[in-house]
């Protein structure tokens, strides 16, 4: 059987089209799960063939992104098994539309399709936000839309310039764009709109203000998809287009970007420290981690770029887990305000343990997935800019600080949850356990055995660091 990216794409769209016909929730969730698993299997075969050169259709970067997407989606669907969202068939259908858009972005080499799919991914996200958010905060969603749309406009503008500028044959093929050297002054100018487009998507400081509100008003599965997958579009764009197409522009601006990102790292960590809402802490922590990835990727070193990619993978796993935890806690205690939480460990030792494992991953504890990426980033940035490297180190301390605060205020202490929620003390169902165990397991597994991640990210880092240092 031929597995090509378009087969996966069609399968996603087919799933999205089919799902609305399953009116029964308990059926539709299984259909969604089976279909997403099917896509995962297809993605595995595709990536396997591509990686070993049997059918080289995807390069390493695409393989990573496709795998992240294909693995996350079944997990997100599985995580909704206990409490499926209202009119879940439409929700699942939207998830598949989102998957289709993401797979299209991650596999195409045509710049215009890249742009169209990029924008297309906003639509299902927007619908999920509109339809399934708890308090109807339309202004928040409007801000999210306008912000990302503005970013998309910058992207479109830059891509059009890239298309029209070279004399002779115009091309939208990304690899041909990379091969066509651009004059230096154009690279310097064009860097700005492109960077803006990707920085908003990630988001990094100071383009992040849409994010905490959006994440904290989104329903749990939507939040998981937004933070784990949609934010990765930004980094993918940087790695796929910004750095290779504008090597000179990147070199000129990299110091500015580093300072911005390191400032953002400390800034968002400081704000995370004093947040009083569980999801907002996670949201600012995510900004902080995105800044860290950008630091790595712009450190102009092999280790930094590799670390950025590895951290991106780790971040997907950890944020999926942490946002899911937030959902579980909210469902069971009725609140995410830290002042009202506490003592969950006493009632749910398992939940506390799982949360702690994810926390260790997120604060880059050795032998967890976060450490490999953050160590490489620190190494990369320290090797090119020692002073900035030292400042980045402060971010490590702050990161541990706000996460331990979060753990202490939710899990430790005496139980404070009121009696009305004793009903929700039923143990977690098998589906939730499966999600938690998978995520926590991969936190530890890829911490002890990061070899596959390092092996697959090495060629990308090699290509980019060679291009940059020229």
């Amino acid at each position: 059987m031929m597995i090509t990216p378009s087969v996966l794409l069609l399968l996603s769209i087919f799933s999205a089209a089919v799902l609305p016909f399953f009116k029964n929730t308990s059926v539709s969730k299984w259909v969604a799960f089976v279909l997403s698993s099917l896509i995962l299997v297809g993605a595995l075969i595709l990536c396997h063939f591509s990686y070993y050169g049997i059918l080289p259709m995807l390069d390493s970067l695409s393989i990573i992104m496709v795998m992240i997407t294909a693995i996350s989606i079944p997990l997100v669907i599985l995580s909704t098994f206990q409490f499926p969202p209202d009119s879940s068939r439409y929700f699942y259908s939207l998830i598949f539309l989102l998957e289709a858009a993401l797979l299209s972005v991650f596999t195409t080499r045509h710049a215009l399709i890249f742009y169209v799919s990029w924008e297309a991914s906003i639509i299902p996200a927007l619908l999920m936000l509109f339809g399934w958010q708890k308090p109807r905060l339309n202004t928040v969603i409007l801000k999210f839309f306008l912000y990302t749309f503005a970013g998309g406009m910058c992207l479109l503008f830059s891509l059009l310039v890239l298309y029209y500028y070279p004399a002779g044959a115009h091309s939208f093929d990304i690899f041909e764009l990379i091969a066509t050297p651009l004059p230096h002054h154009l690279q310097i100018i064009l860097f700005l709109p492109l960077f803006l487009a990707f920085a908003i998507k990630l988001p990094i400081f100071p383009f992040h203000t849409w994010q905490p509100e959006t994440y904290s008003s989104a329903s749990t599965p939507t939040g998981m998809l937004l933070v784990a997958l949609l934010s990765k579009l930004g980094l993918y764009g940087i790695l796929r287009i910004l750095l290779p197409v504008l090597p000179f522009g990147s070199e000129v601006w990299h110091k500015g970007v580093l300072v911005l990102a390191i400032g953002g790292l400390l800034y968002s960590a400081s704000i995370a420290l004093i947040q009083t809402n569980f999801r907002k802490v996670l949201a600012y922590s995510s900004v902080s981690h995105c800044c860290l990835m950008v630091i790595g990727v712009f450190s102009q070193s092999f280790q930094g770029i590799q670390g950025g990619i590895v951290l991106m993978i780790a971040h997907t796993v950890n944020t999926l887990g942490l946002f899911y935890m937030a959902g579980i806690i909210e469902r069971r205690t009725g609140t995410l305000e830290l002042d009202k939480l506490g003592g969950i460990k006493q009632r749910f030792p398992l939940l506390a343990t799982a949360f702690f494992v994810l926390l260790l991953g997120s604060i880059a504890f050795p032998l967890t997935n976060g450490f490999v990426g953050e160590f490489l980033i620190l190494w990369g940035v320290f090797s090119t800019h020692p002073i900035l490297g030292m400042i980045t180190g402060i971010g490590f301390i702050l990161g541990a600080w706000y996460m331990l605060n979060l753990f202490q205020r939710t899990m430790l202490g005496a139980t404070t949850t009121s009696e009305e929620h004793t009903l929700s003390l039923i143990p977690l169902p098998f589906s939730s356990l499966l999600v938690i165990v998978t995520l926590c397991g991969s936190v530890v597994l890829f911490g002890i055995y990061p070899k596959p991640l390092l092996a697959i990210s090495a060629p990308i880092a090699k290509a980019l660091s060679a291009g940059v240092s020229k």
Binding site: S270, I271, I274, L454, A455
Partner: protein
């Protein structure tokens, strides 16, 4: 095979943790204790193998591979690491056995042993790794277990705060340690001990890169070994159960910094500047902690500050370049400080959780076994010959006198300080009138025999390194000479012998005088709980760093994030919105107006185009 030594505790920990509630209460304890005893036995085998074949390495597999660099899980067994293994597992096993009795009424008994054995696993990784990155795993790992155990009773807010503080203070050190590793990678292209030291030994002293590495690593050691200015976490760490204080915060984890600097002696010897820094930090730490220990009423805090002070002395030894002396004092300190902490635990256990020394007194008759062993521990720590502490301190004083007489006198002063606060400790608890309720819990046998063994070690442990004065051979220093270049002089001048005799005879006299003074103060009269030294450094940190920082964070969150950045975005949106409103007025719906505008534009266009032509 020897890697099993490391994984035995891990295995036990996972089993205990996995079965948690299904395991009957003492079973988990025995499982943990026996696994560590097993590691100790294997450590002994490694010790003898070392004697026959010399140092050897065990490699398990690759961890991180990047761009030509490769880091593996690999363990080095040499005389230094095996010494550490024997100390960690030996004392670890004793404390585990003790904890079976101490924790038997706690409902989370099993979790406790899961954490404690997990700690031993990380400690073994720390001391056995043959490269700095592997050491980093253990380095952060022991910090994690320390966090879990300090905050073991997690219902208590203050304990949680103490645990978090310990983790974060250590984290500051950890970041220093990572930066040190990275600098090392950039300088030597490797983090393995053998290759780094081989390359470093070719360098000339005083290279800035090496000094930078040394300073970064030192920051790590300051965090882990509770030195000034990061020592404030250790007294708070006493919130944990007492066996934890004995094992982690006295005998093993806090000595990791001493071990690490000794391990890196090749680098430090190349950087006289960083040795000076170490010396100064050791002196400051030891002096501050010694003073503060004099004004504490909580018996665990007295011991905690005493630990900080003794660690400071080891750091002074490191600063003098006498790594073997530092390690020797570390070993004897592990014996008597574990002993003292376990006895403190017995006392707290006996008095139903009372920790205030001013509410004790007169326990000599009630707890005779504890009294005698505590007396031994006290005599050992104050340096009364021939107890173990005396021999290690004598070695320290001798080395100091060879280097620098100022340091020598500072050390003498610090030892006097030690004697003061320890005799005060002894007098307040055991002598004088009874100031407590009479309902006592007597320790069970399982809590007594580990104490007995530690007492024996505290008495005779020093003879591992019998000095020449007693016709000994300094076996311990010879043992370590395969790692450190130690200078042994075979001929001892009359001057040196005289010096040794003065120390030997002088110290009991001084101690006796101090004892008489403290006895009058704390045992004869009813002692008054007077002046308490507050945690000054904590206050300073709170006022200078924490409060302004939180205010700044609040400023960032409310003013910058909300008003400035988000406000600016809102302004853009508003202006778009506003211009839409203005433009809407043009949409009047009158066809005539539209036609007029169209015609005007067309005329304009025609003029423009013809003008261009």
């Amino acid at each position: 095979v020897y890697s099993l030594l490391i994984f035995l505790p891990l295995l036990a920990s996972i089993i205990i943790w996995g079965f948690n509630k299904r395991l009957a209460i003492p079973v988990a304890g025995w499982l943990g204790s026996l696994s560590i005893s097993g590691s100790f036995l294997m450590g002994l085998f490694a010790f003898f193998k070392l004697h026959n074949t010399g140092a050897f390495t065990v490699t398990l597999g690759n961890w991180i591979t990047t761009n030509g660099f490769s880091f593996s899980f690999s363990f080095l067994f040499d005389s230094l690491s095996v010494l550490m293994v024997l100390m960690v597992t030996g004392i670890g096993a004793l404390i585990h056995f003790y904890a079976i009795g101490y924790m038997k009424d706690d409902e989370r008994f099993n979790s406790f042993f899961a954490y404690l054995t997990f700690f031993v696993f990380f400690m073994l990784v720390l001391v056995l790794s043959d490269n700095y990155l592997g050491m980093m795993i253990g380095w952060e790992g022991v910090g994690l277990c320390s966090y879990l155990l300090i905050g073991f009773w997690y219902e208590n807010h203050e304990y949680n705060q103490a645990a978090k503080k310990a983790f974060l203070m250590n984290r500051i050190g950890d970041v220093g340690f990572i930066l040190g590793i990275i600098t090392m990678l950039l300088t030597f292209g490797s983090v393995g001990f053998s290759s780094v030291f081989a390359k470093a030994s070719l360098l000339t002293p005083g290279l800035p890169a090496v000094t930078l590495i040394c300073i970064f690593l030192l920051i790590g050691a300051i965090g882990k070994s509770a030195q000034f200015p990061l020592y404030t976490w250790l007294p708070d760490a006493m919130a944990g159960p007492t066996p934890v204080s004995a094992l982690i915060h006295a005998a093993t984890m806090v000595t990791a910094g001493i071990y690490m600097i000794s391990r890196s002696h090749v680098l430090y010897s190349l950087s006289p500047f960083s040795l000076h820094v170490i010396l100064v930090i050791g002196i400051i730490t030891s002096a501050i902690a010694g003073f503060v220990a004099l004004f504490q009423s909580d018996i665990k805090k007295i011991l905690a500050y005493s630990t900080v002070s003794q660690l400071g002395m080891m750091v002074i030894a490191l600063g003098l370049g006498a790594y073997h002396v530092a390690l020797f004092h570390m070993l004897t300190h592990a014996f008597f400080k574990a002993l003292l902490f376990l006895n403190a635990g017995t006392i707290i256990h006996a008095l139903n959780g009372e920790q205030n020394a001013f509410k004790m007194g007169g326990l000599k008759k009630l707890l005779p076994f504890t009294w005698w062993t505590t007396l031994i521990g006290t005599l050992a720590i104050t340096g009364c010959p021939p107890f173990s502490g005396a021999i290690s301190k004598e070695a320290l004083l001798t080395i100091a006198a060879e280097h620098n007489m100022t340091v020598f006198w500072i050390l003498v002063f610090l030892s006097v300080l030690t004697a003061f606060y320890m005799f005060r400790f002894l007098g307040l608890i055991f002598l004088g009138s009874s100031r407590h309720g009479n309902h006592l819990h007597f320790p069970s046998f399982v809590m007594q025999w580990p104490v007995f063994i530690l007492a024996v070690l505290s008495v005779f442990g020093g003879f591992l390194n019998t000095p020449h004065l007693f016709f000994g051979s300094e076996w311990f220093f010879h043992y370590l000479s395969s790692v450190f270049p130690i200078y042994f002089s075979s001929i001892h001048s009359a001057h040196e012998l005289l010096f040794d005799w003065v120390l030997l005879l002088g110290s009991p006299v001084v101690l006796l005088v101090i004892w008489l003074v403290t006895y009058r103060l704390y045992a004869v009269k009813r002692p008054i709980e007077g002046f308490q030294v507050p945690a000054v450094l904590d206050r300073i940190y709170s006022v200078i760093i924490l409060k302004p920082y939180f205010m700044f964070s609040g400023f960032l969150a409310t003013i910058i994030d909300h008003v400035c950045i988000d406000g600016a975005i809102d302004m853009v949106v508003m202006s778009v919105n506003g211009s839409g409103k203005i433009l809407r007025k043009a949409q009047t719906g009158k066809v005539g107006l539209y036609l007029l505008v169209m015609v005007l534009i067309l005329i304009g266009l025609i003029f423009y185009v013809t003008g261009r032509l």
